[in-house]
């Protein structure tokens, strides 16, 4: 090559349109390459994961569902990196484009000739011919966007993965024990469904979004259990999740007492009052020489004490009134207002309370004349109700009732009526919220019972009441519970540091110094029950104990830190156990 020819910057300039076209093609090829690699990668990963999942399901090994999504994302990311880094030289692209677009090797030859320093006249004619074809060429003609090769097997693998993940294992693959477990899960699902439906109904009535969400989750979980889509481990984990949400719905403000307790108090007070009146009447009947009625009244008094709800008390009250009228003795039984309030709080008839308050409001506002004694009695009843409701979620209603009582005592019947009207307006909503809270509580009981049953089944190999705090009847772990042996067959080692905690005074008056440990148990420690099954429950019981002040104040922080430390060590522990 002569020096003059080497200096001539002729053809690279002319190659620019061709190189521009190849650049556009390169971008398109990278997209197609990514699609192809992603198809291969996802297909392969799906096939592998489907196999692993199937084996995991058969061997009942726990796996996190999110891991599947993470693997998919990782594969796509890797494919993207690979497609970006894949070497695509101009010559390769030109040859492939020629082949796909039927250009008879024009682009490749033009690229070769264009890089020569001294092209012949024929070569220059060739370059012109190649550029004329390149101008008309669109990258999509040579590399159309279409499903990459092998997409069908990849889709098949993904479908298999979804099937393994979503569909229950056919009975053919299950051992008798697993079948038994499945049946138990289905049974638990059937049991949870009505509970979930009740909670959903109450949540809809109260228009509480959190409650509705929790109810939906519970219902879905119940349906999945009923359809046998979940294995025991997943069921336990999901039950724990739902329980946490229900706990939020059940206790919107732990500082306040519950309206339900207030309802119990009101009902108890009403019952004891009626029972006392019945006893008093019985004494009077005995003194009048009527032992038969005295006996009847004592029986009624006992029945009132055992009555389960306000309607039963009302029935018994009417019988007492009849006997009192036969004896010719006046009797003062609790007003219907108190019973209606108790009923409404118990979630049975919020409408009744509203109607009662509204009728009382109308009576007071219509100017109905009440005697001094009647006003005082009504004022006392209202004050009594207000006192009972004070400090609960129904604080507002309590304040309205107290205001009405005050007005009544001052002789302002119209003012009392207005207060009762406002109370009536707020009572429905408040009672509905209280009902939701209570339904959530019931649902938690159901969930706890379900969890307890499942764990009990896993330990005993048979269905029955589960051990542990969530069997629906216990609130703390008894010292002699079989769970202690099952969950901790030997003393658990710890990697944490020893710590001395000053505690409360012992009964004899001397100070007590407790020794405890911090941190998660050693990985090498052995337990017969998987960590993830017991940890949420133990943690929850500890939290409850902290709330209920069953743990001495000096220990609370230590206990919380202990479980926090366990929680942070949970993933490693779970892996080690698997």
């Amino acid at each position: 090559m002569s020096a003059e020819a080497a200096e001539r910057p002729l053809l690279p300039v002319e190659l620019r349109p061709l190189l521009h076209l190849l650049g556009r093609i390169r971008l398109r090829v990278r997209v197609l390459l990514w699609l192809r690699l992603a198809t291969i990668g996802l297909g392969g990963a799906a096939a592998l994961l489907a196999t692993v999942l199937l084996v995991s399901k058969l061997l009942a090994i726990y796996y996190p569902t999110m891991a599947l999504v993470q693997v998919g994302g990782l594969v796509l990311g890797l494919c993207l990196v690979l497609a970006t880094a894949w070497p695509l030289p101009d010559e390769t692209l030109a040859a492939a484009t020629d082949r796909r677009a039927g250009l008879q090797d024009r682009l490749a030859t033009a690229l070769y000739l264009g890089r020569q320093s001294e092209p012949s006249p024929m070569a220059q004619a060739m370059l012109g011919d190649a550029f004329a074809h390149a101008v008309l060429l669109q990258p999509a003609q040579a590399f159309p966007l279409c499903p990459p090769r092998g997409w069908k097997p990849a889709m098949g693998a993904l479908a298999a993965l979804l099937a393994v993940q979503l569909l229950p294992l056919p009975a053919l693959f299950l051992t008798p024990q697993m079948r038994h477990e499945k049946a138990e899960l289905r049974e638990q699902g059937r049991r949870l469904l009505p509970v979930a439906a009740r909670l959903q109904h109450k949540a809809r009535e109260s228009k509480d979004p959190e409650a509705e969400k929790a109810a939906r989750k519970l219902r879905r979980l119940a349906e999945e259990l009923k359809l046998g889509k979940l294995d025991k481990k997943h069921a336990l984990l999901k039950l724990n999740e739902v329980d946490k949400e229900l706990a939020i719905v059940q206790r919107p403000d732990p500082k306040l007492g519950t309206a339900q307790r207030a309802a119990q108090r009101i009902a108890e007070q009403a019952k004891s009052k009626v029972a006392e009146q019945a006893e008093s009447l019985a004494d009077k009947a005995a003194s009048k020489g009527d032992p038969r009625r005295a006996e009847q009244l004592r029986e009624l008094s006992k029945s009132v004490a055992k009555a389960k709800d306000a309607s039963e008390v009302e029935k018994l009250s009417s019988q007492i009134r009849d006997l009192a009228s036969q004896l010719g003795e006046p009797v003062e039984l609790p007003s219907r207002l108190a019973q209606a309030l108790a009923d409404a709080l118990a979630g049975r008839d919020a409408q009744d309370l509203q109607e009662e308050l509204e009728s009382l409001q109308q009576a007071l506002e219509s100017g109905e004349q009440l005697s001094e004694e009647e006003r005082e009695e009504l004022a006392e009843q209202l004050q009594e109700l207000a006192d009972n409701l004070s400090g609960t979620e129904l604080q507002e209603l309590a304040e309205q009732l107290a205001e009405a009582s005050k007005c009544m005592k001052q002789g302002d019947c119209e003012g009392a009526g207005r207060c009762l009207g406002q109370a009536a307006q707020g009572a429905g909503g408040a009672c509905r919220l209280a009902a939701v809270s209570r339904a959530a509580g019931e649902a938690r009981e159901g969930v706890g019972s379900c969890s307890g049953d499942l764990r009990g089944q896993s330990q005993c190999g048979a269905t029955g009441a589960g051990v542990g705090p969530d069997d629906g009847s216990q609130t703390s772990i008894p010292a002699n519970a079989p769970a202690a042996k099952l969950y901790a067959p030997r003393s658990t080692e710890t990697s944490g540091t020893l710590q001395r905690v000053p505690a409360q005074m012992n009964p004899s008056g001397g100070p007590v110094t407790g020794t405890t440990t911090q941190g998660a148990p050693d990985v090498g420690s052995r337990s017969t029950v998987p960590y993830y099954e017991v940890m949420p429950e133990y943690s929850r019981v500890a939290e409850e104990a902290l709330t209920k002040e069953e743990i001495p104040p000096a220990y609370r922080r230590t206990v919380r830190e202990y479980f926090d430390a366990l929680q942070s060590g949970a993933p490693e522990q779970a892996k080690a156990e698997e």
């Binding site: 192809r36 492939a96 008879q104 090797d105 030859t109 006249p121 024929m122 370059l127």
Partner: protein, 343 residues
């Protein structure tokens, strides 16, 4: 591109246009007499434009000789025909020195040129002559010269040998030696015409119509066209494809397919690669292109390579056709050819 380059490119385009015009005119003139045989006609024209010799093979009566005669009529070139027979002597082909007496009574040896001294030589039924006579053509075909009585005489360009042979009537024939076969650029198989073509042949040959074949190209034009052909560029990966294809006909080559390994004794010589690339250049120009493509190579593979492959005993015993060997080699090279994209 500067003005000189643009002018040069224009000139090259004009030359290529002239090339296509002449080829089209030759096709038209041959088509006046020959019905069908499109591939055979095209391959013959390609060999003509490559200055290559052609061996036409086909059963009797398919028009092999007629094709060559018609082509020679369409070309303004000297034509001679040699009917090869067992008693034909080499001197009958090359010519000989004879003792001639001049007007003054002086006796001198005078060279009497044979029929090989022409531009287009039709060697009809070449396999009927003895190897000795057949070999008389070897020097002429390769060196374009004839040596008689110690004197070498250069043949006039272009020099083309169009030989014919009958593949079925083997009794009393002498198969061409490998060295001679290798000198043919193409071996063209003339196929039996289709029904429509037969109708047309009957109409032309049994009626009173007669076609006058006109001269479509002069000697100088043909020589100019052969020069244009050699200017067509070929991209390295296309050339690589052609060379790998030739190597794939060798049983000990890495690219050789199983059929080659099993049935072939010797593969194509480098002349095969030359034939492939040169004929592909002509195809490119005929297809209005200025570059050789892999498709051109594939199209030329059969006529350029089929006669250069020597089968082993097993191949002959199995009745293997060298066309199948070449087709397998093409497929194998395509498979292993690089420059692919995984999309």
């Amino acid at each position: 591109m500067d003005q000189a380059g643009i002018d040069a490119a224009q000139e090259a385009r004009r030359a290529a246009g002239r090339f296509r015009q002449i080829v089209e005119a030759l096709r038209t003139e041959v088509g006046k007499v020959i019905v069908g045989m499109t591939a055979a006609v095209d391959d013959t024209l390609i060999a003509l434009l490559c200055s290559g010799h052609v061996l036409l093979e086909g059963v009797p009566g398919l028009g092999k000789t007629l094709l060559v005669r018609t082509l020679s009529e369409a070309l303004d070139l000297r034509f001679s025909r040699i009917q090869f027979t067992p008693d034909l002597m080499p001197a009958d082909v090359t010519g000989t020195t004879v003792l001639a007496e001049s007007a003054g009574g002086e006796r001198q040896f005078h060279f009497q040129p044979g029929p090989v001294f022409a531009n287009v030589v039709l060697a009809d039924e070449i396999n009927r002559a003895t190897p000795k006579t057949q070999s008389a053509l070897l020097e002429a075909m390769q060196e374009h010269s004839v040596t008689v009585a110690g004197t070498t005489r250069i043949l006039e360009e272009p020099f083309l040998v169009f030989a014919t042979q009958n593949p079925i009537e083997m009794e009393g024939t002498y198969p061409l030696p490998e060295a001679q076969l290798d000198r043919f650029l193409f071996k063209i198989r003339v196929e039996f015409p289709s029904l429509d073509e037969l109708h047309e042949i009957m109409n032309r040959t049994t009626g009173d119509l007669s076609h006058q074949v006109d001269k479509a190209a002069t000697r100088d034009e043909i020589l100019a066209l052969t020069n244009i052909v050699r200017q067509v560029p070929i991209e390295p990966h296309v050339q690589d494809f052609a060379l790998r294809l030739v190597l794939a006909t060798h049983p000990d080559s890495d690219d050789a397919p199983d059929t080659t390994r099993q049935f072939v004794r010797y593969g194509s010589s480098p002349r095969g690669a030359q034939a492939l690339i040169l004929s592909s250049k002509v195809r490119a120009l005929m297809d209005e292109r200025f570059n050789v493509s892999i498709e051109d190579i594939k199209s030329s593979a059969l006529p350029a390579l089929r006669h250069r492959i020597v089968l082993n005993f097993e191949g002959r015993a199995e009745g293997i056709d060298t066309d199948d060997i070449v087709a397998d080699a093409v497929a194998a090279v395509e498979r292993t050819s690089g420059k692919g994209l995984p999309v």
